[in-house]
Symmetry: C2
Subunit: 242 residues, 2 copies
Amino acid sequence: MPDTDTDTPDRTGLPGATAYEPTERTVPTRARERASYDRETVHGILDAAYLCHLGFVRDGAPVVLPTLFGRIGDRLYVHGSTGSRPLRTAGATDPGLAVCLTVTHVDGLVLARSAFHHSINYRSVVVHGTARAVTDPQERRVALDAIVDQVVAGRSADSRPADAKELAATAVIRLDLDEVSAKIRTGGPNDDPEDLALPHWAGVVPVARTYGAPLPSEDLDPAVPVPEYLTALRDGAAPAAP
Amino acid sequence: MPDTDTDTPDRTGLPGATAYEPTERTVPTRARERASYDRETVHGILDAAYLCHLGFVRDGAPVVLPTLFGRIGDRLYVHGSTGSRPLRTAGATDPGLAVCLTVTHVDGLVLARSAFHHSINYRSVVVHGTARAVTDPQERRVALDAIVDQVVAGRSADSRPADAKELAATAVIRLDLDEVSAKIRTGGPNDDPEDLALPHWAGVVPVARTYGAPLPSEDLDPAVPVPEYLTALRDGAAPAAP
């Protein structure tokens, strides 16, 4: 992101059982102190999300599409129509489709006295790897449940599972968490000392994702109550944090 | 996204003065009724955002990074350190860097009786094109202001402009809005008729981005008031809508 401050605490995990191994492309060229390879940190950022931006190369050019994902352990799953481009490509090509899957949360707007030091507080995860079509029927079912539960925990058990026809129409690809890093910016602006006396307001505007009251379908039997996992979603919405 | 409903109103604009020309890669392979090329629609989705996901190809593999952007007319600007990979590449290569820039807003979680018809209400814009380094000093200044104002409208005029040293350390790339499309899903779940009597709750959980009370820097003179454009940001936070 835009500024060049370097006073964020060092979150870099050492390679080992609890961290992913850094590689040439997961070590940032700048603001390295914001990078983390800690497995728990990476999983936490992924699990706070359900939407990712999936990048792949088509006819030599990059394509970035928003899509839902689910995580099971060190595997990410993405699904879509069997006719969609990336899923078709991943299934049709050997050895799979080179992808970059990125998840970003915005936590705050960082306003500095100087235009240059404006920034965003954020948490992001970038995964590099090869997506492969999931063909095993059992793994496909588990993956589809994971994608639904990533959006609303507990929902897959409270919905009609996909039938054979639906399963046949759905492509699922898998991306192993192997070459992956998190990047986190927290804290206030980092103005230069000579700018501190300028008359401009400086600080952080917290940003959060919030959930409204569930709106039932018009055709829903009014006797069906709002399930607890939706109430929890609303109550548990992450409070705005700097 | 995951479901296959097709009852969303047709928003497809016809090519012409008020719309972008569809191309092979901006016409989706499925859910075409969700696509729009209408200029006003595209600009509206972009202007409701400040964060994009920028994709490019590095050593043959896709890379997707979150970054801030600004829009001026039919041009998007992205900035960063002169040392960052995509900006360095865009500046060093002729004829520029092939990119895909994507913006996505999540508006609601769509819960259907069937796992298969779960979805997300969203608005997204995908821009394909070639990013080129901005070398003209005046265009660079205007672009940097636009990026700050994209985050908080009116802020660039209330901060110290970049000085020569800061300008020299900042790379700016430009991407023309030419090959671009929007995609929008709205409305409730689209369950199959035979699923309507199932006992599962169905409907939409609204999702919104909200802003908290501005938190001043510890070193901010308490006499500096919270500017109106920040109060407006909080009051004007888009209400959760289905």
